[in-house]
Amino acid sequence: MRAFLALIGRDIRVALGDGGAIGIALGFYLVVVAIVPIGLGPDLNLLSRIAPGLLWVALLLSALLSVDRIFHNDHEDGTLEVIALGPLPLELVVTAKAIAHWLTTALPLVLLAPVLGLLLNLEAKAYPAVALTMLIGSPALSFLGALGAALTLGLRRGGLLVALLILPLYVPILIFGVSSIDRMTSALEPSAQPLLILTALTLATVVLTPLAAAQALRANLG
């Protein structure tokens, strides 16, 4: 447990000190969301209709931007060799690093989402729904990202490949994330089902991806 926490703590410290890796993801998020109203013109009704989906898509893209950092840097400077020889099984190493990524990237993005909702004329009643679904869905983004990062370890230009590998896996999260906002805010009969499925997806991802990512790491360490 001590090694687990030490690893999370180190990754957070590296992310905070690393010349604003967090800032880049936040900035990208801001730019994507800010540029859309300019492209679509000042139609407030249109904007508020597409706002939840747009916030979600921007969240996926910004999360993708930083996932290859999860293992790539450690592999490049050799610290992954030290970590691999530690007492922590690689499955838990993946879990710790995905949690650190979630805390340093996904969580700040989620917290920023309501602010960006202003730019998109997000309806007031949709704010809690957006925050809730993102909070539930975002851990899955970090864990799937860790899987992609582990699979492409050691490849040059791995970051682009991660995007190709992982974006399709993000689709179910996106679908259920947006549809649960829909069901919570629209005139349709409210239903918790999409939110429950989103929760199930996240839980399954958190449990299963470390197993797969650890295998990928083992294969790529040689």
């Binding site: 001590r2 090694a3 030490a6 690893l7 703590g9 180190r10 410290r13 590296v14 000190g17 690393d18 010349g19 490049e76 400077d77 050799g78 610290t79 060799e81 030290v82 970590i83 691999a84 020889l85 530690g86 007492p87 922590l88 360490l221 040689g222």
Partner: protein, 201 residues
């Protein structure tokens, strides 16, 4: 304890790099790996650390804690810096210590490698030799019986090289095993030597 390699072979991208390597080392033994570039010294060390699966043969450790795998009983010093450029010298070593399960000894290890005054400097600002010394300090913060050293003296100055030789000698005297690929004498007096050669294709 005893470290045994039995008919170990390894391939890298389809090419056989090691063929039928066997040796047995007791507590206190050293093994010097020599051979021309590309002879498989690094590959052998990576196999021993468990990063690379041997294509045939086994590596096993006898007489250690029953549960622990070989990888958990060895230190691996390789070509890469193995330190985080964005963290300070002290933070780097403190993480290694916490992660590898030791509580203290960080300051003592830094002192031994002559890094005390640099403790608050980011590792990215260190010279190559200083960074190498920081990686070597890890050998001291967590006690592990097997040291796998891949050219550990690269970019070290004369005094640091002597310190390293003393560390290896002390490690062996206290019952540890040291395996090093190196071309200079490094506290490996009386060590066995394994000459690796190119494997004919």
């Amino acid at each position: 304890m005893k470290l045994v390699a039995d008919q170990v072979s390894a391939t890298r991208s389809g090419r056989t790099v090691l063929a039928g390597i066997s040796f047995a080392l007791e507590s206190g033994d050293g093994l010097l790996l020599t051979g021309p570039n590309g002879a498989g010294k690094t590959t052998l060390l990576r196999v021993l650390a468990g990063f690379l699966k041997p294509s045939s043969g086994v590596v096993r450790i006898e007489g250690g804690p029953a549960e622990a795998e070989l990888g958990e009983q060895c230190h691996f010093i390789g070509h890469l810096p193995q330190t985080k450029a964005g963290l300070t010298v002290h933070e780097n070593l403190a993480f290694d210590a916490a992660f590898l399960g030791e509580v203290d000894g960080v300051d003592a290890a830094l002192g031994r490698l002559g890094l005390s005054e640099l403790a608050d400097i980011r590792a990215g600002y260190l010279s190559a030799g200083q960074r190498r010394r920081l990686a070597l300090a890890r050998l001291l913060v967590a006690r592990r019986p097997v040291w796998l050293l891949d050219e550990p003296s690269v970019s070290l100055d004369k005094a640091s090289t002597e310190t390293l030789a003393r560390l290896i000698a002390e490690h062996r005297a206290s019952g540890g095993i040291a395996i090093a690929a190196t071309h200079i004498p490094l506290g490996l007096e009386g060590a066995k030597e394994l000459k690796l050669g190119r494997v004919p294709a």
